[in-house]
């Protein structure tokens, strides 16, 4: 499991730096693909480790983009708030009984979309040093979050989610 976390980190950051940063020159919305590593971190591991992991992931993206500590701050914020947010929706999630890979498709989609929305909003807020920016630029945040969520879902369904194979085998 720990090796998987490290592999996720390396792949996510590498794709962000070598693929998506370059692709960002052709769009208005740079995909924050590197943050998938933060979203896919297992629920059952310790929160302290999660916070440090999120910080390292965000900082790696910041170093590649030259944004200081925006992604690091957004990742750490998301890592701290993740449990609180998902506990409002699924009781079994708050008890850490369900791992991400074993979620149903609906739950996975909801989780990916919510995470993408929260992370994108946090990045915008930290970049502008303003909470009110969310109210002024919410259409951009929504579009950006949708693009991020698309890439997150594709990656998750192809490389991470076990249920796809289990149901297909059935």
């Amino acid at each position: 499991m720990n090796l998987k976390i490290v592999i996720n980190f390396v792949i996510a950051v590498a794709l962000q730096v070598f693929v998506f940063n370059f692709a960002g020159n052709f769009t208005n919305y740079l995909p924050y693909f590197g943050l998938i590593a933060v979203i896919l971190f297992p629920f059952r591991l310790s929160k302290s480790l999660y916070l440090l992991y999120a910080f390292a992931t965000g900082l790696s993206i910041d170093l590649s983009l030259g944004t200081g500590g925006v992604f690091a701050g957004a990742s750490v914020g998301f890592a701290y708030l993740r449990d609180f947010i998902i506990s409002r929706f699924r009781k079994d999630w708050s008890e850490r009984k369900t791992e991400l890979v074993h979620l149903s498709l609906n739950s996975l989609i909801i989780y990916i979309i919510m995470s993408s929305l929260l992370l994108t909003a946090l990045v915008y807020m930290l970049d502008a040093a303003s909470v009110k920016i969310v109210f002024y630029t919410w259409p951009h945040i929504l579009k950006h979050a949708a693009i991020n969520a698309f890439f997150y879902l594709v990656f998750t369904l192809i490389f991470v989610w076990d249920n796809v194979y289990k149901t297909s085998v059935k």
Binding site: K47, S48, L51, L52, A54, F55, G58, L59, D62, G66, T67, G68, G69, V70, A72, G73, V76, G77, A79, Y80, L126, D127, A128, A129, S130
Partner: protein, 259 residues
């Protein structure tokens, strides 16, 4: 130990989050100008809110310094005002602080903290923004003595608001708080409430410095009117005064006294 355990170790995740978030914000602040601008504005607002209650007390402590600054600015403005009038009016004005006052039924005078070293001369006029105060009678190196309007030797050339009526002030040693203005023509239409101002003719005071307002008129049966005037300047309440010097005053005095 239990306190440390409760506050720190049990909430270790929160402290890790706070530390990492602080580092992130610091890195962002250093690299992002928009972030810097917004943070600086927010800190300014917060500082302003906290400083507001203390500002009142700080301002109270600085009253004396602010007053002296304003006095200096006012002196400079007066210099420009009176220095810019048509010749021969080119007064140079200094401000001074009253260090002692002696008022009573008889000779009234004050001592100022400026003297020869500060460019003060005998017979310089002394006034405040309220009105004329007196005339410098003697000067030492660092102090000067000023006889007030209520002093038997002080005589000012004054005029009434209504044009054409000039006179002189004097004061009888009768303990009164009022001064008198004499040599007002019989036909002058003077009433209580009229303002008396310096005429500027003696070059002791600039023109139009307020002196007082008329409280009573005494008709001396053909010899002119005598006005009773209450001075505007309340010597018991003022702390700072202006002193005016005209460079041609001595020349004027000399020519007046020549036979």
């Amino acid at each position: 130990m239990s306190v440390i355990n409760r506050l720190f170790f049990r909430k270790i995740n929160f402290w890790i989050f706070a530390f990492l978030m602080s580092v992130s914000l610091l890195l962002t602040y250093r690299s992002n100008s928009v972030f810097q601008f917004n943070v600086n504005n927010t800190m300014l607002e917060i500082t302003g809110i906290f400083n507001k209650p203390f500002r009142k007390w700080k301002d109270l402590l600085r009253v004396k310094r602010n007053y002296e600054t304003l006095l200096k600015e006012n002196t400079d403005l007066l210099n420009k005002k009176f220095g810019g009038q048509a010749p021969p009016s080119s007064f140079s004005i200094t401000s001074a602080r009253i260090v002692s006052r002696h008022t009573g039924a008889y000779k009234n005078f004050i001592i100022l903290d400026k003297g020869k070293a500060d460019g003060i001369h005998v017979s310089d006029g002394v006034w405040t923004s309220e009105g004329a105060v007196g005339v410098v009678s003697s000067v030492s190196e660092h102090f000067s003595k000023v006889f007030l309007l209520r002093h038997p030797t002080v005589t000012l050339s004054v005029k009434l608001d209504k044009p054409g009526h000039y006179g002189f002030t004097n004061w009888k040693m009768n303990g009164e708080k009022l001064i008198r203005v004499v040599d007002i023509p019989v036909e002058a239409d003077v009433q209580a409430g009229d303002t008396v101002r310096t005429s500027g003719m003696s070059l002791i005071f600039p023109e139009n410095i307020p002196v007082g307002h008329v409280v009573g008129v005494v008709d001396t049966e053909g010899e002119g009117k005598v006005l009773k005037v209450r001075p505007f300047a309340d010597i018991d309440r003022i702390s700072y005064v202006y002193i005016g010097f005209h460079p041609r005053r001595e020349e004027l005095k000399k020519i007046i006294n020549e036979p």
